[in-house]
């Protein structure tokens, strides 16, 4: 059986997360350890069986951040004796007492087994909170068994912001929620607008210390750039009264304009003026054309680890004359009209399921040069010509698109050591 399907023969309900799943050696995407380490002054404690601990511990060791993580191993005796709560409490106490520096915040990650053993961890956290009033305890979860109903990454973004208290709001300050990377003014239209108007921007990935992290509670507005941040934003709206706006991470000029207008209104700022928008659109078109001419029909492959909307990017590029050959994506989360348009305009677009068992033994060679957007497509196409980014890499709006075009041109012109780069866990993670 082929490792891909043609989009023309697929339905919108496609989801590769069924059946046996394959894990490719591509490791750039962040996991919960990387995200948890973003909180300055935070300490993570993972409470799991050995098989679950191994991954998080070595992820942390690779980051050189072992001083920010401790573990409590769940053993057979805990299962038989039903003393999970005691192990959790006493283990946490010992960790706090033995750490050379008192953490301001402790994130305790329980695992699948705790759900099945009906462990009353909330009670343990109440006891710990009384015992250590100077530490904020946060219940976090590494429970992939719940991934269909409560995926771990959105839950972590929500939980790590749970320490924020409902305090009076200050004007001139906003938060970005759910971003692994800072969204700078040169690659993100919203940041550029905020900077032009002197609005302070806070996000977990760039807070200097725990107090600054806590000061995110004072912001009246949250902006979300990834679907994984929506759970946190919803929670913060309910608990803290912070309004939020989801900035759509696609490639439609009209959506950029609509979202920027809504963002401006939410912050009581003037919307970007029409001349600026028109100039940015022209620049986008010029950069896209420049890229198309350079690539001169070279095939492109796109994957979901690089950009949140791989289908939308494929559509944008196809409509601008690029030769998009394939997309690596495990579930369609983008709007159906994008899928329908691709189906009609490029029915032979290959869709690869990166989780599927057939991809393990696929022929990882490609006839002629192929430029890949993302690490997974680069691995499976065995290409050293690739855009080495994950999770949109702080790109948003016209500025983001312009930057993306520059990255594609660079990928076409410059070989990269794919084998070395794609195996680095948590690409670009500098939280250590």
């Amino acid at each position: 059986m082929e490792a891909f399907q043609l989009i023309g023969q697929m339905s919108y309900e496609y989801n590769a997360d069924v059946g046996l799943a394959y894990a490719s050696p591509v490791r750039g995407v962040w996991n919960i350890v990387h995200i948890g380490t973003l909180v300055p002054g935070g300490h993570q404690i993972y409470v799991c069986p050995t098989s679950c601990l191994r991954g998080v511990v070595l992820t942390t060791a690779e980051m050189g951040a072992m001083d920010r993580l401790s573990t409590i191993t769940v053993g057979e005796d805990n299962i038989l004796e039903g003393d999970m709560e005691e192990a959790l409490q006493h283990g946490t106490e010992r960790i706090i007492e033995e750490l050379p520096q008192r953490p301001r915040m402790v994130m305790i990650f329980t695992s699948c087994i705790h759900h099945f053993m009906a462990v009353n961890y909330k009670r343990v956290y109440r006891i710990l909170q009384k015992e250590y009033p100077d530490i904020d305890f946060v219940d976090c979860y590494m429970d992939p068994i719940m991934r269909r109903t409560a995926p771990v990454v959105p839950a972590l973004w929500r939980q790590m912001h749970r320490v924020l208290k409902n305090v009076p709001k200050v004007r001139g300050q906003v938060n970005y929620i759910g971003n692994c990377f800072p969204y700078g003014g040169d690659t993100c239209d919203l940041t550029a607008l905020l900077e032009e108007n002197g609005v302070k921007r806070l996000e977990a990935n760039s807070c200097r210390d725990y107090d600054e992290f806590l000061s995110m509670a004072q912001s009246p507005v949250n902006f979300v750039f990834h679907a994984t941040g929506l759970k946190a934003a919803n929670d913060m709206k309910i608990r803290l009264g912070q309004e939020y706006l989801a900035m759509r991470p696609g490639y439609s000029y009209d959506e950029f304009d609509q979202d920027m207008e809504a963002a401006s209104a939410l912050c009581s700022l003037p919307a970007p003026d029409k001349e600026t928008v028109a100039a940015l659109r022209r620049r986008c078109e010029e950069e896209t054309e420049k890229t198309r001419l350079l690539l001169a029909g070279t095939p492109l492959s796109i994957d979901y680890t690089a950009v949140d909307c791989p289908l939308d990017l494929a559509l944008f590029l196809l409509r601008h004359g690029f030769n998009v050959e394939s997309v690596f994506v495990d579930v369609f989360t983008e709007r159906q009209e994008i899928f329908d348009a691709l189906k009609e305009e490029k029915p032979d677009l290959k869709i690869y399921a990166s989780l599927g068992w057939n991809i393990r033994q696929m022929d990882r060679t490609h006839e002629g040069k192929i430029v890949c957007v993302g690490q997974k497509s680069a691995y499976f196409m065995n290409s050293d010509y690739f855009v080495n980014i994950i999770e949109n890499a702080g790109l948003y709006g016209y500025r983001g698109l312009i930057q993306l075009m520059e990255l594609i041109r660079d990928a076409y012109q410059t070989e990269k050591p794919m084998k070395d780069l794609v195996q680095i866990k948590g690409w670009g993670c500098s939280c250590s």
Partner: protein, 408 residues
């Protein structure tokens, strides 16, 4: 009471599930890890150096909440059959993590049903995700040998027992005049990496005139490993090999020798022990069998070797065979993690701090901190630090290894 569960500073050894995958990697099968998710990427990222370029088959079942709650084993049966239909593996190995364990997943029954549906042999390996890789490698190799190797190929045959009871090695004798050849048991990259240790180990035996029949399970194929019973003596070169060795001893009378050719002196002693085992059919351990390690200690000012059991014992033994002046008059003491409980951190810290020199994986350095006077000698171990120090792995399993150089 010793607290083996809380690790404030230290890492963890890899789990039984990775051990299963690692042992089965080169044999042309398909390993199914029955677990929600995560164990598979841990294995393929940290524990399997052959993953990037290889095409061996290992998948996670993606067990979800509803399937677990309902005990719906039909899901994994159907999913495995679908994948096997496409990929046509020679055999299938079914192991699992902690959730199948607590919901009492029937490995044997499910394996039987998958086998019935696909016509492909299925090995049930009832791991639980709670133990170390030593357990997983041992269980997987034992199941494989049980299923695919022919004990009638053994050069040993049972003699009528004098008492009519028991299965001691005294009840076996050699058939005919088969020559001495050995199997190396417990060989995976988790203990030996991919830096030439396995080749050096094979060479140590072959240079001593002892052919290697099988190396379970690196550098072997399904077909070559199926003749493992032709080995006259099993050499347990890592503790992961102990379980299959004991099984083969009971099943076909093959004596086992525990030891590792770590340097010329250790290799020479090991070859002698192997020859003796071949002659009298009795199992041996190269060094005095260490006491159960309920309480670990290292006498003040001595050398502490931390690692996998056989390896740390062999390295310590190789050091202790040196003339006293070459080891500063000190003795080396091995320390290794328990299969169920790992290393209790408090005892580990005490032992490391009382030692004069510690030979261990670099991730243990954190225990001593920067101010300590204890000398630390890096000895990376893939089953502990994964790929982090892979480029610095030592060549320890051959006659080229020098305990003196290690201490220098």
């Amino acid at each position: 009471m010793s607290d083996y569960q809380t690790h404030v500073f230290t890492s963890t050894y890899t789990a039984d599930v990775s051990g299963v995958c690692s042992a089965m990697y080169e044999l042309g099968g398909m390993t199914i890890l029955h677990d929600p998710s995560g164990c598979n990427s841990t294995y393929s990222t940290h524990d399997e150096p052959r993953w990037f370029d290889g095409k061996s088959l290992m998948f996670v079942s993606g067990l979800d909440e509803m399937t677990a709650v309902l005990g719906d084993d039909q899901v994994i049966i159907d999913d495995t059959a679908a994948a096997a239909g496409d990929l046509k593996p020679r055999f299938i190995t079914l192991c699992g993590g902690s959730i199948p364990h607590i919901i009492a997943f029937d490995f044997k029954g499910t394996a039987h049903l998958i086998e019935k549906k696909t016509g492909i042999p299925v090995l049930p390996v009832a791991t639980d995700g709670l133990k170390s890789y030593v357990s997983g490698v041992g269980m997987a190799l034992t199941e494989w040998i049980k299923r695919f190797a022919d004990p009638s190929e053994s050069i040993w045959e049972r003699m009528p027992a004098a008492s009519g009871r028991g299965f001691s090695s005294a009840q076996w004798k050699k058939k005919g005049s088969s020559g001495l050849c050995v199997n190396l048991l417990g060989v995976t990259p988790l203990d030996f990496s991919i830096n030439g240790n396995v080749q050096a180990m094979r060479a140590a035996f072959e240079d001593a005139g002892i052919p290697v029949n099988c190396c379970a399970a690196m550098g072997e194929t399904f077909d070559s490993l199926s003749h493992i019973y032709r080995g006259a003596v099993n050499v347990v070169v890592s503790s992961a090999g102990r379980r299959p060795a004991r099984f083969m001893e009971k099943k076909a009378g093959i004596p086992r020798v525990e030891g590792l050719p770590a340097g010329p002196d250790e290799a020479s002693a090991l070859m002698e022990a192997v020859r003796a085992a071949y002659e009298d059919g009795k199992s041996r351990i190269l060094w005095q069998e260490p006491a159960e390690h309920e309480h670990w200690t290292c006498p003040q000012g001595q050398i502490l070797v931390i690692g996998e059991e056989i390896c740390s014992c062999a390295i310590a033994d190789a050091i202790n065979r040196l003339p006293a002046e070459k080891r500063g008059g000190r003795l080396a003491f091995p320390m290794w993690p328990d299969i169920d409980e790992g290393l209790p951190e408090a005892e580990l810290i005490a032992a490391m701090r009382s030692a004069d020199t510690v030979i261990a994986d670099p991730l243990y350095r954190v225990v001593l901190g920067r101010a300590g006077k204890t000398r630390f000698i890096d000895f990376p171990h893939e089953a502990y630090s994964g790929r982090i120090y892979r480029k610095d792995m030592r060549l320890f399993a051959g006659t080229e290894f020098s305990a003196e150089d290690l201490l220098r």
